[in-house]
Symmetry: C2
Subunit: 103 residues, 2 copies
DNA sequence: ACTTACTGTAAGTAATGACTTACCAAACGG
DNA sequence: CCGTTTGGTAAGTCATTACTTACAGTAAGT
């Protein structure tokens, strides 16, 4: 049920840019911050939110911290979204059906 | 590319509750608002945001307005999420591979 | 026509949250 | 050791936004 924290985490544009920088592999905080229009502490705060949402994880590497995507958060989002999708389509099908009966 | 508006739209808990009330079929504004802990105008505002995000649509029915889920928004979200998922897995695979070479 | 039912909009408020600078801690290299 | 690199945290600020009440509009019923 972590989609409830994952959705707000991915709602902010710059935080999404932080997240998307990990899309093709692990990066250190400095590498992530480089090129972004916000300060490095801001990036740290975004990473904290993403981590609490189960979207990223990290491990130490000397004085640096390497962040990488944690599949857990994305998986939870996908489950919620797919379930919703199925329900919505089924509801739509049922709607068409009941409309037919009225004729 | 509407996932950029769909994500913030689904980030708010009460707005998500509004959206989820349409999960199993169309509802009028009054029906949606009934039982929710916020006022009816608040629900109207949430519906406006959801509509601008392509997540819902509506049509008139007398003095009432019936809202229903618009698959466009959900589809856009799914595309983005699936693409992200694929990239993340591929990156993970490549990471494991490059780690092997180091040994 | 006149009331009733239903909904969207305006305006104002309070809370949330994204950002900044300043500071502190930990690990590496000379 | 000591300076440098790296990154997390604290405190404060500003903008966003979710909510309220009040109002306006439109369609149906009598």
């Amino acid at each position: 049920m972590t989609y409830q924290t994952a959705l707000p985490a991915l709602a902010d544009p710059t935080r999404r840019r932080v997240f998307e920088r990990l899309r093709h592999g692990p990066r250190s905080v400095g590498e992530i911050a480089k090129g972004l229009p916000v300060s490095r502490p801001a990036v740290s705060q975004h990473l904290k939110v993403l981590k609490e949402a189960g979207l990223v994880d990290d491990h130490a590497d000397g004085t640096r911290r390497v962040y990488y995507i944690d599949p857990k958060g994305l998986a939870a989002l996908r489950r919620w979204l797919d379930q919703f999708w199925d329900d919505a389509l089924e509801a739509f099908r049922a709607e068409v059906e009941s409309d037919k009966e009225k004729e």
